[in-house]
Amino acid sequence: MGAWPSLSNVIFALIFGAGVGYFTFNMRRLVALIKKGRPVGPVAHKKERWRNVLYIALGQSKLVKRPVSGLMHVLVYLGFVIINIEVLEIVIDGLFGTHRIFQFIGPAYGVLIGLFEVLAVLVFFAVVIFWLRRNALKLKRFWSPEMSGWPKKDANLILYFEMVLMGLFLMMNASDLSFQQLNQGNWISGSIYSMIQDWPQAQLHLIERICWWTHIVGILGFLNYLYFSKHLHILLAFPNVYYGRVTPAGQFENLDSVTEQVKLMMDPAADPYAAQPEGTVPEKFGASDVTDLTQVQLLNAMTCTECGRCTSECPANQTGKLLSPRKIMMDTRDRLMALPKEGESKQLLDDYISRDELWACTTCNACVEACPVSIDPVSIIMAMRQYLVMEQSAAPSELNVTMSNIENNAAPWPFNQQDRGNWINE
């Protein structure tokens, strides 16, 4: 080992700094975007929320309801997280010019790396199966219209990233002469090494260095890729599940702004001609754009993994309607991401989500139930219906009839309220 810092230490520090720096920059952009939504204020039921984080986010309890993909996902997730402990060692080595600094912990190091290697192989194969499910088996939920173009490419890119990173990790170990000679923890890489051990030492060293550098640059690249990808869910799933619904799924929020007005209307003492207090802007009802949605709804959109479990359970989608709850989430995210660029020239309603989609929903909550990360597409659909009805009076005509019936006879059909008890004596 030469004097510290060597040129490679400096280069490493620069790359590492740039990687972490750009990531931080993008995360701040992300937070700023989510803050464009309406604030939700402090949330109640904290205990239950933490429980959800533990079971649903960390334990992936909803994911394993589909056992095949669920268990493989748990494997890839755990594998990937655990193997990344190794990144810590790489960073220290890279910055300080050490080599496998954690070796000082003794034989446990071998066991640790051995486990990492096994996980790396398992992750590799699970990812291959994921790729096959998408591209060869063509599972229906991965081939909906909203999954063409970038979303499809994105999903495959993530899988390639993971395959390559796992491969590099194993190859790095296999070509590391000192590590192989120690013969501890090279459970998998040992057999690769036996194939290449006759190669010149210098060549092995070069391979090791290339793998080491590509691996860490790849990881930093992957980290920075997150912001542009559905893979962001590996970070956002946790806050998203925390803010997920803890009340019964059928309980739709009552709009406080409406309550105030209805109370005024029903209060005989209130002055109907009273002017609005000066400077108050009448509140907009419902949502026509992402800025009308709540911050939790926007967080939902940024968290969506595009897995399509919601859509595959959606009765409207299964019977050929345009509605796809996944598309609702993806549109919301895409519009939010494009907000700085598009500005007011576009909006979520009509430019992204059509009215036909909104009116096809039965509010059955199958999508909410199916979502592994507690996303609530129905709440967005409802907010947009509220805008259509309360701001634009643009309900389907049959619903207008229904609503005027309710208003006039307190029933959705044209029957007389006085006759409500007639069934008793019929």
């Binding site: 309980q251 345009l322 509010t363 208003e407 059909w413 409500r420 008890g421």
Partner: protein
């Protein structure tokens, strides 16, 4: 053994100075829809047979506002809610039972925020309690050994987590309960919710109730049990559209129990 129905209104009860044990919230479908009225009556008979003191609001009841809210008309919903809450609170109502999961959900979950807090039960929950406490005898009668499949109403199941009460009642009928592939948390909607009942479905390649009815018919059950007047309509229409109405009857859980007891 037709026994005359004796259903007092809250106003009548109040005039006599006695508050009933529970208010039976009939709902719009239960009041006006011919098919749903039969469910209303069957349930009222069961209440009567169990010796439950109950009353209805009659002309003082109004739509809970569920279809308005799900259409996006929060104004109309809250107007309906406030009017109903005024009536309910005026009578000091404590416990409500209803045969409609939509009314159930709205009364239970959305009224408290507007000043109306009651103990609200779906009729299958209420009947199960009556059965468990021995007030209601449920036995098979003509349904013994018959194959029954149960369709989970979204607003009872997923929306409020009640999957067991109706099933417990059906198994007390000594029937053979066959589950559809999509049941309980994964139960497929009948297509009526979210105010869809009151409009034509959006363009697609199939109606949701047909998809669901096919699944129900495929189980080979002779009865499709439901717990919702709207599911009942949807499934009845679906079964008829498939020409299976002579083999498969769509009935509410309350109707099955009442029929088994020859009420």
């Amino acid at each position: 053994m037709e026994k005359a129905l004796n259903v007092p209104t809250m106003a009548e009860c109040q005039a006599q100075g006695k508050l009933p044990e529970v208010l039976f919230w009939v709902g719009c479908a239960g009041s006006f829809d011919d098919r749903a009225k039969k469910i209303t009556k069957a349930f009222a008979k069961l209440l009567q047979a169990s010796g439950v003191s109950f009353a209805v609001l009659g002309a003082e009841e109004g739509c809970t506002g569920d279809p308005a809210k799900r259409s996006g008309n929060e104004f109309l919903f809250q107007m309906q809610a406030m009017m109903n809450i005024e009536v309910l609170n005026g009578y000091g109502v404590g416990q409500i039972v209803t045969t409609c999961p939509h009314c159930f959900n709205t009364l239970k979950n959305e009224y408290p925020g507007l000043g109306g807090s009651y103990q609200v039960m779906h009729h299958t929950q209420f009947l199960k309690n009556l059965m468990d406490s021995g007030r209601l005898k449920v036995s098979g009668g003509s349904f013994r050994g018959k194959k029954i499949t149960y369709h989970d109403p979204c607003y009872l199941g997923r929306a409020n987590g009640e999957y067991e009460a109706p099933r417990a009642l059906l198994s007390a009928l000594e029937s053979e309960l066959i589950e559809m592939k999509r049941c309980k948390t994964r139960g497929l909607c009948c297509g009526a919710g979210g105010a869809q009942m009151f409009k034509e479905p959006e363009k697609g390649n199939k109606d949701i109730n047909i998809e669901r009815s096919e699944e129900a018919i495929e189980t080979g059950a002779s009865f499709v049990a439901t717990g919702c007047p709207f599911c009942n309509t949807m499934m009845t229409d679906g079964v008829t559209a498939k020409g299976a109405e002579s083999k498969v009857a769509v009935m509410d859980v309350a109707e099955l129990i009442a029929k088994a007891a020859d009420l």
